[in-house]
Symmetry: C2
Subunit: 319 residues, 2 copies
């Protein structure tokens, strides 16, 4: 990756790391609740690709707004100026391309894998992120932290078990291959984003985000052309958008920014733990909001996830 070793060692404060982690956890858990809420309000009426584009556009706008405040207070510096070099920006399209390919694959995987099985297989992301984090960023996890990572993925899957989960065992070979490819794409995109952001530690995160999101918008336009061109032409770009759609776009935009912040001030491992804990929080909140019943599998999975978080924290590699 050619990241200078020294540039990775600038340690952000413990406080900043905690704030972005908690923000990501809360935003991710409310995200899932909004999805449940929107589903109860009826089926999706809007086009998912235009919503994704709107999320990227909103993130761009929010990054610019944050930058303009910073320019006012600190003036334009080498680190916070928007203009960039080809050398800096050339790697920025890569995560956007990876996510685009992954999102397109998502439409085809359902030919081989049904929805309950897909829910289970998505937990392969946890493992792929850990492995790629190790390989690409060349950062070490201790033996205990690896064990914790396996537990995190087993615990998350256990917590999501329901009576249809066993269908995953009937997944054909092609389904497994696609699920593994999707997990690798998603893990690679996450780890690559971290590499890009951390390569220039002093560069302002809002500038880095701005360029990431510009390419996000660009590749989402391609997705709109591939998947929803007719529907957008006939019904319009914002057809079917409701109040809850707007809430979801706002939430996705904010959690996207929180992910970037976690990449800047923490890492992909923290991101994975944070979104896993968010999944558990969502389920608990859903008990109160929607009268969901928690299963014994949920309690067992939560126990395993909690132990994983504990082991990860006590298992820091000795240096």
């Amino acid at each position: 990756m050619g990241i200078p070793e020294g540039s990775l060692t600038a340690k952000p404060s413990w406080r900043l790391k905690s704030i972005v982690t908690v923000a990501l956890t809360l935003l991710t858990s409310s995200q899932a609740i909004l999805i449940v809420w929107s589903k109860r309000a009826g089926k999706y009426e809007y086009s998912v690709t235009t919503a994704n584009f709107s999320v990227e556009a909103l993130k761009c706008a929010l990054s610019l707004a944050a930058l303009s405040r910073i320019w006012k207070s600190q003036g334009v510096t080498e680190d916070n100026r928007l203009s960039t070099s080809f050398d800096e920006v050339k790697v920025y399209p890569i995560p956007a391309v990876l996510y685009l390919v992954k999102n397109l694959l998502q439409y085809y995987i359902f030919a081989y894998v049904d929805a309950p099985a897909y829910q289970i297989l998505k937990n392969l992301n946890i493992i792929s992120t850990g492995v790629l984090y190790r390989i690409i960023l060349n950062k070490k996890l201790s033996e205990i932290q690896w064990a914790a990572f396996v537990l995190l993925s087993a615990g998350c899957t256990t917590a999501q078990l329901n009576s249809s989960s066993d269908r995953v065992l009937q997944t054909p070979f092609q389904g497994w291959i696609m699920a593994i490819i999707m997990a690798l794409l998603s893990g690679f995109a996450g780890v690559y984003t971290e590499a890009i952001i951390k390569k220039r530690p002093s560069r302002n995160i809002n500038v880095q985000n701005f360029w990431l999101y510009v390419f996000g918008m660009l590749f989402n336009i391609i997705a709109i052309f591939i998947q929803d061109f007719d529907s957008v032409m006939n019904k319009g770009f914002f057809h079917g958008y409701s109040f809850i759609t707007i809430c979801m776009i706002l939430n996705h935009a904010l959690s996207g920014i929180a992910v970037s912040m976690v990449m800047k001030y923490a890492d992909n491992i923290v991101k994975v733990y944070s979104t896993s804990v968010a999944m558990l929080l969502t389920a608990i909140v859903s008990v109160f909001l929607f009268g969901y019943h928690l299963s014994i599998a949920f309690f067992l999975g939560s126990t395993v996830v909690s132990v994983a978080v504990y082991l990860h924290s006590i298992g820091k590699p000795q240096r």
Copy 2:
């Protein structure tokens, strides 16, 4: 407990420890397979209390047989003579009484807890054994080993999940209390047996077993009187015994002796890990023997149990 500290430190060989552990694992897993086999062959026709008595009697006979061989080769010594003092033998009835009370409670708990829920609640034994092992034997587990123990119990429970498991959440308060009391009785009996056996490290294990089993027989006679007196009087002691009943009694006797050996040369923690791994082995063997299907919950639970075994082994307390 008044166990002299020094007497606990005589370390048995690693090889002996491994042999008894593997023996216990294999015997326990074949035990469950025999139970499945006997159930498929039809309902239990025999009285369970007389079978328990027969197991104790057989264990007594096997201990005496082993002793007579030892006497022939080594002669009668202070450590292998059968005669005992009141001071040595006074604690031997305690585990037998605890098991008797636990077995009697087992008949009453089903008023509050149904069978699938009981299967889940039985895993509380793992936790109670760990806690009582710590308190009574005053042996330390490291933080990682405690985490591993919680994982072992969550993993075993996960592996046993099926569509009826959620009934455990409807267990009334009395059911939970009884399940916890039973777990404590069973954990206490196990840990107390270890304390008795380890109190005199140089005493021959077959003599210690002989006296344990004598009291086992005695208290099982009481159980026969309480539960099956009429049936034994009318139909006879061995009524309904089949070939498979005899196999089960033989297996129970051998695994009982293996448990004692594990207590002597290893400890209750090893016993719990060994019986947990046996549970997984049973399920895998049942796929081939009875055409069982393994669930995704089984794979997840097995993963968690495997990680627990790994963590326990790397997590030895630093001295």
